[in-house]
Structures are given as structure tokens and as C-alpha cells.
Symmetry: C2
């Protein structure tokens, strides 16, 4: 399986320049004090459409437009942020978007699709319906993460991290289907001070660590890592971190994680809820629960931080479900 | 009653420089689209201690230190942000702080006092206990809003707004006891393109409007304006916007509002809850309900915005009560 190439990453960064927010990498002094490390936050919650997803969707559609393969529009499937991102990107390109969403999708994310002009089809058969709609209408399909252009777009987050902080000791990323962790880890390994690594790799003490974190209840990547091959989860995943509840990791994202990521951790639901509140209270940034799984891993004792080191948490999005806030209030 | 002088405001800005966060004035494009005006947010939720209050407390204690009147420490009373701000400011000056808080104070705000080393005394007799503690220990007292140095410190928010946006059409401020609205309106009138005004004043069409907003259930300033004199509310106020639940406005803050502010509006609790969510969802900034009363007034139809104009909302703080989030989740 091909990994995204450094040239694809830099091309994506040039393509997206001025079309996306150059989000800040902010230090949170309160978290720095509490955790004993310099704590930097890559604020993709402040990105257009409220998540990093717009980077991948826009990169993919811009490439198609350039190649003349944009077709009459775009069909995709997603429970959330990729749906809004694709709607936004399609509007930028001037083509229609149809998005298959599960009936239980978060209201905030459903509203966002409407805000950017996307058409929603509610269905439990996401992939099949998407394919049927694409064929019927003559649209192209856009996979939410299993697409090299989507991964390269997401990887621009990593290029920006290194531009603002050339040598982080540790970068912590939320993992759903694996698009974000694939692109960012590829960019970090291509551009950082040490270009080698991968799950189980040795690595010197000065080597940048890259850690992925996913909910134990939505652990598609850990499932694939243990099996050694991409395969769907036995049951439909569900988590407070709804943005990470992908039913499978793909062979492509699994390959990136095997090549570039040191470790993928699994966190419990109560740890996610606790960290979600802690992240918002400390940073005064509004994020979705998915953005807090890295902090959850630290607070649950699964991820130890070297005192005085520099740690980057990627805040993947800010489109929280209003109803989810009850979980925080009840704790 | 003396109003804060322009020289006191500029002196406060010089005194606080490098000791406080120069908070950003951010445009929220989504709110700009929704409201049809250029919507700018003064992000005091990102200020040290999570609210604008540190400006006033630090200005006052720095002046006392300079004058040799800091005494052995500082005693104050507050249900919230001023308590944390005074603790922080006292620590900066190297003196102890004791803070009288009501037993029902928000946990987030109680924790913040501890974080900055303040000593807490829980009591319902806030003012009397504060006075007794000050006498007993030989500490100076610091009023949360009825103090010219506290007002001048808060006014530096206005100086920074004008530095980043020299000619806003409308500035909207939350009102509790009135310290923020007093200082900021004085600074805006001193530095803006039109230096006159006040409640009921005529004003040309190009004149900057300054509007205060308070909860109807905690309407100390409207109560004082109607009475024409400072007097306590008949009953203890209570609001989701806990930061604004001052039991009275003072003669000093009333005088500033009468001199400089065009209008003080009162918003209902459900409008505050609705706007709190809307503000966080649109901006991806975590704020406390008090910071959303201005947007509540707009969404409730109490405050009309001229299409295409530039409107500044002051986000006064980000120290929300965890339990309050249940209100949002239930809507």
C-alpha cells in the first residue's frame, strides 16, 4: 500500500494556501503548569467548518477540478465533520454535494451541512447509498479518509505544526478512520528532525514520538493493528467522541500508522468526558469530545509525558453535540 | 460623583502592559454572516484567570504598592471572577489574599481562587465578613467594582478595542455591578470618534453606540437607572449568568452609565441559555453565560443591528459552571 509522498503533502499545502485558516498553535499555560510540559494546541476547532476535515475534502476536490474529473458533483458519506467539509468544499468549487448521514447524526453536524448548501440523505446504508447516488447522478465519490488526496490534505496540519514548532517531543492525535493520523504522521516524519519510525520501531531518545488515541468503544485502528490487517469492527462503534466512531480503518490508513506512529492508545468513555471538560475549562476553547482524547490518555495515566518536554495536542474539531454537554454537567 | 479620567485610563494601560494578556479582537465570520454585521469579539475569556477582572484587581493593587498602601494583604468579596482575579493579583504583588465567597459559588470559580493561592471564607455576609477580616488582619479591602482603580483597569479593554478597531458602530457589554461597562464606556468615549453621549443623549447617526446588557433576573443597573439612584435590588439576584448577579450597582457605576452608555437592556434566562450555546457553537470559544448576554439581546430582538455595521461584543469571561451546561443540553 502506497504511503502519501512528501511531494503530495507540500503540493497540498500550496493548493490549500489562502483557502483554509492557518490555525494557531497556542500554548495553554494552565495545562503546561498542570502537566509539567510545554503544552501546545493545534486549533483545528477554529478551522473553516469547525474541523480539520475541510483540508482533505478541499484538497481532493481541487485536484479533481484541475484534472477535469470533478464530474457533475460529489457524493460522500459521513456522520459528521467530513459531511460539512465536503459541502463547504463543493460550494467553493461550484458543484453540488450530496451527503449520506446516519439518522442518529449529531444535530450540530447536520445543521452544518445545511449551512454550506449540502443535500442530506439519511440512511443506515451509508456506503451503498452513496455509491447508488453517485451513479444515478453522475457525481464523483469522496471517501472520508481512505483517499490519498484526503490524507495529504489532512497532513498539512503536520506541516503547519512543524513550521510553528520545529522540534516537538511528542505529537498526540485523535484517531477515527485514520485520515488525520496518517497525513499528519507522514508530514511529521518527512519534515521533522528524525524521519524514521513506526509502531514498534526502536527510535533514539531524541526522536519525536507520535501517538494516536481512540475511544475503546470505537477502536477501529487498534482492532486493525491487532489483526495485522484492515477489517471492520465486529459491532457498530459508539462513543461520546462521535467524530471518531468510524466502523473500520482502511488498509491505507493502517499502513501509515504501522509506518509512522509509535503507539495507538484506547481511552474509556468516562476519561473522555472528564478530559473534554478539562480541556475546555483550561483552554477556554470550545472543542468536541474527539479533540480531548489525547488529554484523556494523559489524565488516565496511559500516556506519560517527559517533564519539561514539548507536547502538541491536535484539537481536531469544535462541532460538539449540544446534548453531549449533559455528560459533562452530570459528572 | 467623579468619573474615571482619561489620564487614569492611559496610566492603567501602561501599568498593566506586559502583566496582562493583550487579548485578540477576533472576527467570527459565521456570526457576521448570521447577523449581517461585521462581528468582532473581544476575547477576555482568554485573559489570565479567565476573565477581564484581573485588569481591575491588578491595576488597583499595583497602585497601592506604588503608594505604599498595600498593607499586609488584601481582603475582598465576590461570587466569582473577581475572587480569582484578586488572588492572582495578590500573588503577583507577593501579598496574601482572603476572599469571602457565598456558599453557593460556582465550583469552577472556587477552584480558580485556590489555583492562585487565595484563601476562601464562605459566608452569606460578604461585605461584613470582608470588613471584619480586613480589620482583624490589617489587610486593605478591594471592592469588586466600586473602586476607581478597578474601573480604570477594566477600561483598558476599551483602549485595546479602539487600538484594533478605531471606529466600531456599536459596542455591547455585559453588566453586573457595572465596573466593566463603566471603564470601557469611559475609554470608548475618551478615545472614539465622538466623545459625548449618555443614556437618553441625542447623538448623531455616525456616533458610536454603547449598549449594556444584564439578565432581567439580575438587573441591578436597570433598577438603579429607573430609580435614578443607586440602591440594592429588593431580592438577591440569581441568573444562569452568575457573573452578573451583583446585588446592587453603585453610585459610581450608575454615574458612568448615565454619562456614557446609550441603553441598558434586560434579557430573559432562556435567551441567555440559547445565546450561550449559539456563541460557543459559532465561535468555538468557551465562554461563561455572562459573555453571551449581548448576543442574547440581539437574538431576542431587543437590540437591532444596522446591516453592514461593525459590532463588538465583549466576551467578559470563560469560567462557566460545569453544572450549567445541563441547561444547554436540555434545550
Amino acid at each position: 500500500m502506497d504511503l502519501v509522498a512528501p511531494s503530495e503533502l507540500t503540493a497540498a499545502a500550496e493548493r490549500l494556501d489562502s483557502r483554509i485558516m492557518r490555525t494557531p498553535l497556542l500554548e495553554c499555560t494552565r495545562l503546561s503548569d498542570e502537566l509539567g510540559v510545554r503544552t501546545l494546541l493545534k486549533c483545528e476547532n477554529l478551522q473553516h467548518t469547525g474541523s480539520f476535515k475541510v483540508r482533505g475534502a478541499l484538497n481532493a476536490l481541487l485536484i479533481r477540478a484541475q484534472q477535469g474529473t470533478l464530474a457533475g458533483g460529489v457524493a460522500t458519506f459521513s456522520a459528521g465533520n467530513h459531511a460539512a467539509a465536503t459541502s463547504y468544499a463543493a460550494r467553493v468549487l461550484g458543484v453540488p454535494a450530496v451527503v449520506c448521514m446516519p439518522p442518529g447524526a449529531v444535530a450540530t453536524k447536520v445543521e452544518a451541512v445545511g449551512r454550506y448548501g449540502g443535500e442530506i440523505v439519511f440512511t443506515d446504508a451509508l456506503v451503498d447509498t452513496c455509491m447508488a447516488l453517485a451513479n444515478e447522478r453522475g457525481y464523483g465519490q469522496l471517501h472520508p479518509f481512505d483517499d490519498p488526496d484526503v490524507i495529504a490534505g489532512a497532513g498539512t496540519v503536520g506541516i503547519e505544526i512543524l513550521a510553528d514548532c520545529p522540534d516537538p517531543d511528542l505529537v498526540v492525535l485523535p484517531v477515527g478512520g485514520g485520515g488525520l493520523v496518517s497525513g499528519v504522521s507522514a508530514a511529521l516524519r518527512a519534515g521533522g528532525s528524525n524521519g524514521s519510525g513506526g509502531v514498534g520501531g526502536a527510535g533514539g531518545s531524541a526522536r519525536m514520538r507520535i501517538v494516536g488515541v481512540e475511544p475503546r468503544q470505537a477502536n477501529a485502528m487498534s482492532h486493525a493493528l491487532r489483526a495485522g490487517t484492515a477489517q471492520p469492527l465486529p459491532a457498530r462503534p459508539s462513543s461520546l467522541a462521535d467524530g471518531l466512531a468510524a466502523p473500520f480503518a482502511s488498509a491505507r490508513t493502517l499502513a501509515h500508522v504501522q509506518a509512522y506512529v509509535d503507539e495507538v492508545l484506547e481511552v474509556e468513555e468516562d476519561a473522555i468526558a472528564d478530559a473534554w471538560w478539562a480541556m475546555m475549562d483550561a483552554t477556554k476553547l470550545f472543542v468536541e469530545p474527539s479533540a480531548a482524547v489525547g488529554l484523556a490518555a494523559v489524565r488516565a495515566g496511559l500516556l506519560s509525558l517527559r517533564p519539561g518536554s514539548t507536547v502538541v495536542f491536535v484539537l481536531s474539531g469544535g462541532n460538539a453535540a449540544r446534548t453531549s454537554l449533559a455528560t459533562v454537567a452530570a459528572m
